[in-house]
Amino acid sequence: MGLDYQLVLWNKHKKTYDKVILIGMLLYIILFASITLVFNSETSIETLVIRAFGTLAILMLHIILIIGPMARLNTRFLPLLYNRRHLGVSMFIAALIHGGFSIFQFHALGDVNPIYSLFTSNMDYDSLTNFPFQVLGFFALLILFAMASTSHDFYLANLSAKIWKRLHMLVYIAYTLIIFHVFLGAFQQETSLFTIVAMCLGFLIITGLHIITGIKEVTIDKQQGTYGDPNWLKVCDIDEIEEDRAKIFTVNNERVAIFKYEDKLSAIHNVCKHQGGPLGEGKIIDGCITCPWHGYQYLPSNGQSPPPFTEKVAIYELKIIGSDVYIKPKALAEGTEVIPINISK
């Protein structure tokens, strides 16, 4: 969380992660080049660069796409989610080197514009087997460029979290384009069984994890409370909520997090204003509800970030009868002050 926009928001942890990313990328390139030179010493340097950075970008994309669902399934992966943005930008740089070298190698040495050549050198658009696979990679690269260039809190704040998230969900389209780019390329250029098996395995893992977590989320959404009074929804017993933690409920199709802290209860909308993180999976730190994704904080009494920050989330009214917790399903305006319910009274 930062008040001013900085080109790169580094801290001690992010610097460590970035070093790991950089070293990992360098090691992969060295390993790929060594193996290639041992087993296929006639490979030209241009081909080596194209293949090394292409495969590196695909490997990184797989890791990026796995982090999200893994963090949903196991909170130990949350630190990776925290640093995913830098991994994404690094992956784009690898993909750009692959794409740039490919366009230069295959299209820039003729007498027509390289981009025009990319689209017209193979016109078998009506064929599945000879489809111009480079075009698919080009469109994927454009999507990755749009994502990498907007991977900054400035764009997140100005586009709104919802639009920004939808823009960044285009990575799934890019992933699909890349699958076909690799498969068709592999089929047309070289039938490498290793490439096909590796891509199939990656596809199964990524789609499997996303669908499993998606179904899990739908199941959570279906867990509704019970109405006694039409204005109040009974959600749980006080003892079901851990101290300084929350329990999440679905109210009017939106998730609400009810936090227990300092003998009090407060309920806020579960979606963080930063990147839509699940606030209810975070905890109370220094008296503030802290998002588990990137550490954005909100005061439990009004859903507002502590000054000078201005982010606000909707807040809900609660009441306790006996040990049962009730919530009023209609949300109050973002930032409305609501006195927390005292448990002992």
Partner: protein, 133 residues
């Protein structure tokens, strides 16, 4: 994520999981990558005269039918990105341009009489390999 985004997310992944394998299976079915053996069997039954066969090429001449043609089966991908096929004259020199080959597969070129075939890298301007018959 909001409920709308969660729903969009799940629908997108279900679509990717269903559509991508279908397209890939259709593509693989349309490819000839595993058909080289069956092609060779077929060419034998068509009474084509096999001139050369090695790890990379099988070159056959069809001089029995009305359309004299030479058939080249590329078994393995070539390292050259731009390969042209030329007929060779009796002195073993590059004669007529027959056509180009790209990936593995079956290529047929019309020709009357050839003393040999040359595969030429038009970018590096050098012969890849020559076969004389």
């Amino acid at each position: 994520m909001t409920s709308g985004l969660r729903k969009t997310h799940l629908i997108m992944w279900l679509m990717i999981a269903v559509i991508s394998p279908i397209i890939l299976i259709i593509t693989i079915k349309n490819l000839n990558i595993f058909d080289s053996e069956s092609v060779i069997v077929l060419s034998n039954t068509n009474q084509k005269k096999v001139l050369v066969e090695d790890d990379f090429f099988k070159i056959s001449l069809d001089d029995l039918s009305e359309n004299h043609s030479i058939e080249i089966i590329v078994k393995k991908p070539l390292k050259a990105s731009e390969t042209s096929v030329f007929s060779l004259n009796k002195k073993g020199e590059k004669d007529l341009f027959l056509g180009q080959i790209t990936t593995t597969g079956v290529y047929t070129f019309k020709c009357n009489q050839v003393s040999g075939i040359a595969f030429f890298d038009t970018i590096k301007n050098e012969f890849i390999t020559k076969y004389t018959f």
